[in-house]
Symmetry: C2
Subunit: 194 residues, 2 copies
DNA sequence: ACTGTCATGTAAAACGTTACATGATTCT
DNA sequence: AGAATCATGTAACGTTTTACATGACAGT
């Protein structure tokens, strides 16, 4: 059910089409809540059916149109209610830790290969996160800019500070993962050398 | 599909019943891969059907029996194959980060309350993880003991070292979360004071 | 004319959560 | 006798992934 609120969060910055969302997603909410197109479009339809969004047909090219979604009052209310609701904490379920715990069952070379892949993924991801945080810090991040344009100074400042805080957490997490993966690689080398 | 491998991992230590697993789970694999009973029993049945496990009826009390699952050769092969397979990295999808990013939409007191709850959860969780790591370090952890009893010295050492490594990662992760949550609480106080 | 990107989905399968259901055994 | 724990699931529902499907528009 969080996808719904991720979409609501994004649409409070500005009206968007499903396509805008599924692209713009990459640069912002996707870091926090990834979803493929095939989940986004149907969910937008359900949200409209439930009265959280309205859609407006906007001309696209000469003959065609696209559907731009706007958050309704009911949508805002639902979002605020969700934000005030206690968070349901989900248990850890990460195959990386599961595998790491049983690395004695893998071929050392396969183990190294996997750890290197993970390291690469987290490095790239970290770079993305740091890039996004930089844009938030200098207030050049597109979604934030859209939001600031229709918010009073002080409200905008709040929004920016909390977005940055979230990225601080994501970045700290990525760095912790990277350090742990490096430890894993060193451990494989140590234990394989015997 | 990882639940299957989590169960396989656990059953390589010793034969167990579904109940043993769903309890013993708490003290070991569950930290890495949580699952409720209602998912464990059917999966064990499917794994038996697929030839990864065999089950033995063991007497329980005077009239009753229970089903003890043993890993087959095919099960070991499947587990090793999975361990050598490249890991499919899953994208972040944590409602805590999503909420943190939009904390300007929550009532400050609701925000504080949620952060306190999260802090409590992670503190408890961290204590559990550190307790488990301590048992791994002094080789008193029950599942590890069972495993060491049928493994040559050197193999057992490998197993212990990798289990500990996994817990190091989980503990580092929990500490990072806690530090970030504290930052969040400080931030709410700062921004609410205006 | 062709390629890339904009635009919007459906369908099926896999995975996971929550609630319900039941009975035997062991301990006090 | 009653409570706690051992033991094993089913059913319904919701979420997520993966694969497939289609067509219009814009730039070269």
């Amino acid at each position: 059910m969080s996808l719904r609120y991720a979409l609501l969060a994004l649409l409070t910055a500005q009206p968007m089409t499903g396509y805008d969302i599924s692209k713009g997603f990459s640069g912002s909410v996707a870091h926090v809540w990834h979803a493929p197109d095939s989940q986004i479009y149907p969910e937008l339809n359900r949200m409209e059916r439930d009265g959280l969004l309205t859609s407006e047909q906007v001309p696209w090219g000469k003959r065609s149109t696209k559907k731009e979604y706007h958050v309704t009052e009911a949508g805002l209310t639902a979002f605020r209610a969700w934000m005030d609701e206690p968070l349901d904490i989900r248990r850890q379920r990460d195959p990386a830790y599961l595998k790491a715990a049983y690395l004695d069952w893998a071929q050392p070379e396969a183990a190294r290969e996997q750890l290197r892949k993970q390291r690469e993924y987290w490095r790239d991801h970290l770079a993305l996160l740091e890039g996004t945080r930089a844009m938030l810090l200098d207030r050049s991040h597109p979604t934030l800019v859209a939001r600031l344009s229709h918010l009073p100074e002080e409200q905008g400042e709040l929004a920016a500070r909390y977005r940055i805080h979230a990225y601080n957490g994501l970045i700290a997490h990525a760095k912790t993962e990277l350090a742990w993966i490096d430890d894993g690689l060193a451990l494989v080398d140590e234990l394989d050398g015997q």
